[in-house]
């Protein structure tokens, strides 16, 4: 079985985001970029499935300009067998990304498309669901446990009510939640080895190009600040303050 893993290049989760003063977007110049944390978890799970003998090949895929090759190389250093960059300089919509994953899944004959549950830049939480719908295959989103058993899988999902379990036939789309695993650290020799692993570049147009009408992003603003708080001395003062404000 082949597993495709989607890895998005995103602002590192530790970076404090700044909105540009002209409202045109979020400052990304000189900001640390990383693999979207959920995608690192998806890749780790794919590698574990391969290491357990249930998959033969793990292919990392990123859609974007040449800069995404940096994250693809990190994915290869973590242990992916090869990488595909779907080349475009344009802003991407989820429908386009989903179509790319369907096209690649069909081209590669993938048994599993493993994505993150959401990209921490756009916070969309859409691509996995849309990929499954377009592909006509099962979707198991927000996975915190995945057990592959022959042609099917049992997936535990983190839902508002608790933990839901579903059974899906392969091929399928799974999206990772945070508690699925803890990704491994990359070792230096692996980074050297990753340089020799194959990285193919395919033009976005070759896989169908853009899809759907794009909502237009306009002005960006920082969130409204919360009013200045106070520090109280002790528990009695806290209780007095809460009573004073009619909160208890």
């Amino acid at each position: 079985m082949k597993i495709l893993v989607g890895i998005k290049r995103a602002v590192d989760y530790n970076v404090r985001i700044r909105v540009r003063s002209d409202g045109s977007g979020v400052e990304t110049d000189g900001v640390k970029m990383s693999i979207n944390p959920f995608d690192e978890i998806a890749l780790e799970e794919a590698l574990r499935i391969r290491e357990a003998g249930k998959a033969d090949e793990v292919i990392v895929v990123s859609i974007g300009g040449n800069e995404v090759q940096q994250q693809l190389r990190t994915g290869l250093a973590m242990g992916a067998d090869r990488a595909i960059q779907v080349d475009t300089a344009d802003t991407l919509q989820p429908l386009t990304v989903a179509k790319v994953f369907v096209a690649l899944a069909e081209r590669e004959g993938a048994g599993l498309v493993f994505l993150g549950k959401q990209a921490i830049d756009d916070d969309s939480n859409q691509v996995g669901q849309m990929t499954a719908a377009l592909w006509g295959r099962p979707q198991a989103t927000f996975a915190s446990k995945v057990v592959i058993d022959g042609d099917s899988a049992t997936v535990t999902r983190e839902v508002d009510a608790g933990l839901e379990t579903i059974e899906i036939d392969l091929p399928a789309v799974i999206t990772s939640d945070l508690r699925l695993n803890e990704p491994r650290f990359v070792k230096l020799p692996d980074i050297m080895k990753a340089k020799r692993k194959p990285l193919d570049v395919i033009a976005l147009d070759e896989l169908g190009g853009h899809a759907g009408v794009a909502p237009e992003a306009g002005h960006h603003a920082p969130p409204a600040p919360r009013g200045g708080g106070i520090i109280v001395e002790d528990t009695a003062a806290l209780v007095a303050e809460l009573k004073n404000r009619g909160l208890v």
Partner: protein, 316 residues
């Protein structure tokens, strides 16, 4: 004229409050350009839920689709059904719960639409605001004329619509065959009689500082004294002190209680995302430099293991 369809969320017997909040979001749209708001309920044996949906203020009609394969909330079945029901509508909304987020993008893909997640404000029939980067930026988005608008409404941003309505309830036959490739096994809930985290007016939360599941009991004790819901940071969930459905934050629940009390939580941006809309935030932390104090309305520097019992004694 706008025609808005909202996917109702329920557990088979009770409508989820996120539904009435989505109705407020829809009412903000019709407030700009007029129009009707319909609800669709998908399930099996859902007459009671449909009746609750019909009682929400501002709802024109409730479409009730009953079928055995819709009993479980599987996106593989609910997604295509929602897409099939969307014909003739200008907007399709769902609450931004794990259910809404699972089903709505699925339906959107089938309609060839790029959906909007977490609509927090409505500036026009096709103009919205939504948070990105864990709520650290708010972006204006406009959906071009002629394209169906599909999105989830960010529950913490909208009040629940009232319950004085009297919409008609219409039976709608299921349009799609069951998906054979996906099977529902079940859901394990942590249960309990405490107020639901997402609707409680007071929430007490604990972080890594609690140290163990046993120690976390003092958080429950205080919550019970206050009639509050209980939340936690990711660190407390990861460490196994509490179940996953209690996580508050970017990847947990986004909540907007009147009062939020955080004990031993440092205030990482991913946690703060979940509580930005709370009325009053109280933080107790032994580190005076903890980032949570930057957004707390009332801060108290000290040891939670002494402060929580004192609070409980003085409040009850």
């Amino acid at each position: 004229m706008n025609k808005i369809l909202i996917l109702a969320e329920h557990d088979g017997t009770t409508l989820n409050p996120g539904t009435a909040k989505a109705v407020s979001c829809a009412a903000a749209i019709t407030g700009h350009g007029g129009g009707d708001i319909d609800l669709i309920v998908l399930g099996d044996g859902i007459d009671a839920v449909a009746a609750q949906a019909a009682a929400i203020d501002g709802v024109n009609a409730v479409l009730a689709t009953n079928a055995p394969h819709l009993a479980a909330p599987l996106a593989a079945n609910h997604g295509p059904e929602l897409a099939a029901a969307a014909d003739g509508y200008t907007h399709v909304l769902a609450p931004s719960s794990t259910y809404g987020k699972d089903v709505l993008p699925h339906a959107a893909a089938l309609k060839g639409v790029n959906p909007l997640s977490d609509i927090m404000a409505v500036d026009g029939e096709r103009r919205f605001k939504r948070p990105i980067y864990a709520g650290n930026a708010i972006v204006d988005v406009t959906v071009p004329e002629g394209s169906l608008v599909m999105g989830t409404s960010r529950s913490a941003s909208w009040p629940a619509a009232g319950d004085g309505g009297s919409a008609s309830v219409t039976t709608r036959e299921a349009a799609c065959a069951p998906a054979e490739h996906t099977r529902y096994v079940g859901v394990e809930t942590s249960g309990g009689d405490r107020p639901d985290l997402q609707t409680a007016s007071v929430v007490v939360s604990g972080g890594r500082a609690l140290g163990s599941a046993e120690n976390f009991e003092i958080v429950y004790d205080l919550a019970d004294a206050l009639g509050a819901g209980v939340g936690a940071s990711r660190a407390a969930v990861d460490a196994g002190y509490v179940p996953n459905d209690m996580q508050v934050g970017q990847t947990g629940k986004i909540i907007a209680p009147d009062l939020y009390l955080a004990f031993g939580i440092s205030g990482a941006i991913q946690h703060l995302t979940g509580i930005k809309d709370a009325g009053t935030i109280v933080a107790v932390n032994k580190d005076a430099d903890a980032p949570i104090f930057e957004i707390a309305d009332i801060g108290l520097v000290g040891d939670l293991f002494t402060i929580i019992p004192e609070l409980k004694a003085q409040l009850s």
